[in-house]
């Protein structure tokens, strides 16, 4: 059983999103995703200042055995990327909801968050 924190939003592509009060969302991959990928060895993240549309492929997570695209869960401008996770990608395996976050986006349209899954919906997707 993978961990699914109750206070986060989720996508069917196994990303999580945490919305702060100032309209900035932090994004990462779920515990299920890191477990399925295995040892993560490289990250490619969007540049700060880039404008993303919801659903757009904007980066890659590469493990010893495969590569997965990262899709922007919401539209907005990239305001931060986790450079320490780029240097130490194994952080995504060790702490996917904490130190292993990927990037932050200032939302163009906060209502997009409503279309994401909640923890119960994501758990149902995983069959948990």
């Amino acid at each position: 059983m993978s961990s699914i924190p109750a206070d986060l939003h989720y996508t069917a592509e196994h990303e999580w999103l945490s919305l702060s009060a100032d309209g900035v969302a932090r994004i990462g991959i779920t515990d299920h995703a890191q477990e399925a990928l295995g040892d993560i060895v490289f990250l490619t993240l969007p540049s700060v200042g880039a404008t993303l549309a919801a659903g757009q492929a904007c980066g890659e997570v590469e493990s010893t055995k495969s590569v997965s695209d990262i899709y922007a869960p919401v539209s907005g401008e990239v305001v931060a990327r986790n450079e320490s996770a780029e240097t130490a990608p194994e952080t995504l395996n060790a702490d996917p909801y904490g130190a292993g976050w990927l990037f932050e986006v200032r939302l163009t349209d906060a209502s997009e968050v409503a279309s994401l899954l909640d923890a119960a919906g994501y758990a149902a997707l995983l069959g948990q």
């Binding site: 295995g38 040892d39 490289f42 590469e62 010893t64 055995k65 590569v67």
Partner: protein, 368 residues
């Protein structure tokens, strides 16, 4: 990721599941891909000791009058130069020089040898050998009654000894041990990792006890994921990727496994012609200097033109960079800078001659 009804199970399947392995279909077998993680398992083999279930490999017994001479006349390498107890890497080729499979041949007596073939090719190897064997020579499929456990790493000798095999074997030799509990076990100083290591061919009924013994004595269970990163760091070819019916031993720079002076073997004329003309492409290594992971079947580019294609690729846990084996035009030289087209990004790398890491399976064990 897991398959598939009909996936064959080794004698250790339940052990793998109980250990929490991620299972995968490989050559028609349900095999462990990883237990604790590819990098942890890889590191255990490079610095300590790991154990692999390789019972999916095809154990074949060839016996009958002059069975060894028969195999020498079919397989590429010079088997008659090997005496009882010696193990030789060899190839079964097609008449056109393409590789049916790469094999380990256990030279027994003049009238009996054993072969270990790749899982997915074992039946083809058996069919080809049977079609070529003269009357009186039997080619026997031993897979149903054997299990194979590889114990690999600088501490492998301690584990094998603690498990009851107090032996001192030179690299690429084997012996048969009668174990008090497990019956006859073939122990060989062989492997696919580049480290000092052993492979134990034991009766299927004893497999669980042998496996549990090597784990109890300190070997970390390792899956096919680590097996691939370990072999790739050594530049060992994988059949179906780096050698194949389309990629000959001349192209793959495996001429050292071809007995050129032998009167004949299957594919000799074609391979001799390739060697004389010089192959258009050669199998080389590429060590990426840019960050990223090459995979198989990616284009290799130099000076704006495609100069080759990767055949295997992955992340090297030892070097902490991407590495690949690639078929490169013979105009490309070792030391050249090339780029691998990784999903549209051209990642720079250096052409090298494998192995990528300095490990040696010939190293004496620290305990020896």
């Amino acid at each position: 990721m897991t398959s598939a009804d009909g996936g064959q199970k080794t004698a250790l399947y339940d052990q793998h599941v109980a250990l929490g392995a991620k299972m995968t279909d490989f050559g028609g077998w349900l095999m462990p891909l990883e237990y604790s993680g590819v990098i942890a398992e890889h590191t255990a083999v490079r610095t300590g000791v790991g154990a692999f279930d390789v019972s999916h490999m095809g154990a074949i017994r060839v016996h009958g009058q002059a069975a060894k001479a028969f195999l020498d006349g079919v397989l590429t390498n010079d088997l008659l130069s090997r005496g009882p107890g010696e193990v030789q890497y060899s190839l079964l080729c097609q008449d056109d020089g393409g590789v049916v499979d790469d094999l380990l041949v256990y030279a027994g007596s003049d009238d009996e040898c054993h072969i270990i073939a790749n899982a997915g090719n074992a039946l083809t190897v058996i069919d080809v050998l049977r079609s070529l064997a003269p009357a009186g020579i039997t080619v026997e499929d031993r897979r149903p009654d054997s299990a194979i456990i590889a114990v690999q790493g600088p501490q492998s000798r301690d584990v094998v000894r603690a498990a009851g095999f107090d032996i001192n074997l030179a690299y690429m030799t084997s012996t048969v041990v009668r174990h008090p509990d497990w019956g006859f076990v073939v122990v060989s100083r062989t492997g696919y990792t580049g480290e000092h290591g052993y492979e134990l061919v034991c009766p299927r009924e004893a497999a669980v006890e042998v496996w549990q013994a090597v784990l109890a004595h300190g070997a970390l269970p390792c899956g096919l994921g680590a097996r691939d990163t370990l072999r790739l760091e050594m530049g060992y070819p994988l059949h179906g990727n780096d050698i194949s019916p389309q990629i000959s031993p001349v192209t793959a720079r495996l001429g050292w496994a071809v007995g050129w002076k032998k009167a004949d073997f299957r594919g000799k004329a074609a391979l001799q012609a390739q060697k004389d003309i010089g192959p258009l492409r050669l199998l080389r290594g590429i060590e990426l200097t840019d960050r990223g992971v090459p995979r198989s079947h990616m284009a290799v580019v130099a000076g704006g033109t495609v100069v080759g294609e990767t055949t295997s690729g992955g992340f090297s846990p030892t070097l902490q960079c991407g590495i690949a084996l690639a078929l490169l035009d013979s105009s490309v030289s070792v030391g050249d800078t090339v780029a691998v087209d990784v999903r549209g990004r051209h990642l720079a790398g250096r052409v090298v001659t494998p192995p990528f890491v300095a490990a040696s399976p010939k190293d004496p064990s620290p305990a020896a």
